[in-house]
């Protein structure tokens, strides 16, 4: 039976893992490959690197980190941030990543999703969607219509709305060739208030591809809710793991106790 995945996300800048709240007050939190190896040892099912600088002049540094990670942590690695072309995606994959996550760039240039999927296969293309709830009359989409699902897409690290219905964009992204969706609730991100299971469910019910839940985790019960109520196939978190508030083993134990299939923590370390 397919296991529900637990995925730590590491924000990377200038060759280091950084911690902060929504990209501000960043604090150095270590060497990415070293942390990646530790998470793999602790039972992480995959890893995500988010290059929060996404600066072209730092691409070499990022690719070096990706390669050093692939040589130490033998679990899948997704890299998000800064990929603007098929060639840039190729470079990231050749450095040792298995998937690339497209966010702001996919919204601006949906055709990029198709071209990347055609070249490397849908399984290598993750579309990351940052979404928030629309309140009151709320913003309207490009055609002047109310955002039907009640969730809208925001880009540039969750700051700017683009007049796009989050559920409609999710469906479109899959049609374009996304093999997986990483859905982050900007309302919940960093709050510890739990995942937005309504958002997750609205999307998971409309697509065949796996949905990764992100934004709002505080404890194992939230991971269970993301799967049970939200219909997520995988659950991603950053802060609670980095701050060591909750371990991956704690999360998996909670999910297993709730009857969800999870992969056991490796009993043996590949030294």
């Amino acid at each position: 039976m397919l296991r529900r995945r637990v995925i730590p996300c590491l924000d990377v800048a200038h060759g280091r893992v950084v911690k902060g709240t929504r990209f501000v007050d960043l604090v150095d939190a270590g060497d990415p490959p070293e942390l990646a190896e530790r998470y793999a040892r602790e039972g992480a099912d995959e890893l995500v690197y988010l290059d929060i600088t996404a600066a072209p002049e730092e691409r070499g540094t990022l690719l070096d980190i990706v390669e050093r990670t692939a040589r130490r942590a033998f679990i899948p690695l997704t890299v998000g941030g800064g990929v603007r072309s098929v060639d840039e995606m190729r470079d990231v994959l050749r450095a040792g990543a298995d998937k690339v996550s497209l966010n702001t760039r996919a919204v601006a240039e949906p055709d990029l999703v198709s071209r990347c999927a055609a070249r490397f296969g849908s399984q290598a293309v993750v579309v990351a969607i940052d979404a928030r709830r629309v309140t009151g009359d709320g913003p309207r989409d490009a055609g002047g219509n109310a955002v039907a699902s009640g969730f809208e897409v925001v880009v540039r690290g969750g700051r700017d709305p683009v007049g796009l219905d989050a559920v409609a964009w999710a469906v479109r992204a899959v049609e374009l060739g996304a093999g997986e969706l990483l859905v982050t609730s900007i309302d919940r991100d960093g709050t510890g208030a739990g995942f937005d299971t309504d958002l997750l469910r609205s999307i998971a019910d409309r697509v065949e591809v796996p949905v990764i839940a992100s934004g709002g985790a505080a404890g194992p019960a939230d991971f269970v809710a993301a799967v049970r109520e939200g219909g997520a196939d995988a659950v991603l978190a950053a802060g609670i793991f980095h701050r060591r508030e909750v371990s991956i083993a704690d999360v998996k134990a909670g999910m297993a106790a709730a009857g969800l299939p999870v992969r056991g923590t490796p009993s043996e370390v590949a030294a």
Binding site: M1, L2, R3, R4, R5, A40, D45, E67, A70, R71, F74, I75, P76, R90, L93, R94, A95, G96, A97, D98, R119, F120, G121, S122, Q123, A124, G179, E180, E208, V209, P210, D233, A234, R263, G264, P266, E268, V269, A270
Partner: protein, 220 residues
């Protein structure tokens, strides 16, 4: 280790080769990533990795002169490991894009039937239908990492090449073995400790097949 078996990894532009390179090296193999068919001469183990669709992969393999050398290698029953697309290409053709493939194994590559999600991405149990030394030291039903939508379907469900099965909606063949050929639908190079163990077993088996009397045609 300088005296480990030489593993030739076929590089046809299909993405991440770092992980399989490192997994083979960790297992004690010397690794040569090859971009032309002629470069597999002198290797002790041939590895065809890969993800994605069959037609562009076959085009690139053909353009780089790999088709005949790979077919010859398998026909001679030399140690071979096909991973994911590298397994799917062994069948006769792909329903994904209609591509004709190598035809080493009977049957076609078809879309996974009745899958609750597609692509099938994540860790899933691999249940062996018979013993095989590639799985030495690995628990029955151990989890391996999968990422694919299509799968090779053998016409005979009891074909003796079938080595393992996995269930995602319906049951499918997740490993085949025939002679010294091994094909796995999952990614051992991304499957943690058990994946590394499988790669180490494959390297060890290839080392055992080396004929010291045969001079290597390569300068490596």
């Amino acid at each position: 280790m300088s005296d480990g078996p030489l593993a030739a990894v076929v590089d046809y532009g299909a993405g991440n080769l770092v992980s399989i390179d490192q997994a083979l090296a960790t297992a004690g193999a010397q690794v040569r990533c090859v971009t032309r068919g002629a470069d597999i001469d002198g290797a002790d183990l041939l590895v065809v990795p890969g993800v994605g669709a069959a037609a562009p992969a076959m085009d690139r393999l053909g353009a780089a002169g790999f088709i005949e050398p790979i077919l010859g290698w398998i026909a001679a029953d030399r140690p071979f490991l096909g991973i994911c697309l590298g397994l799917q290409l062994l069948f006769e053709g792909s329903d994904e894009d209609g591509a004709g493939t190598l035809g080493v194994l009977p049957g076609r590559t078809e879309r996974l039937a009745d899958a609750p999600t597609l692509p099938h991405i994540g860790w899933n149990q691999v249940s062996r239908t018979r013993p095989h030394p590639a799985f030495d030291g690995i628990d029955e039903g151990a989890d391996f990492y999968f990422v694919h939508s299509y799968v090779g379907v053998l016409p005979d469900q009891d074909d003796e090449a079938i080595l393992a099965r996995t269930t995602h909606g319906s049951s499918f063949v997740s490993a085949v073995a025939r002679g010294r050929l091994l094909g796995v639908q999952f990614h051992p190079e991304r499957s943690g400790v058990d994946g590394l163990r499988l790669v180490a077993n494959v390297v060890r088996l290839a080392a055992g097949e080396r004929s010291p009397a045969t001079p290597s045609s390569s300068a490596a």
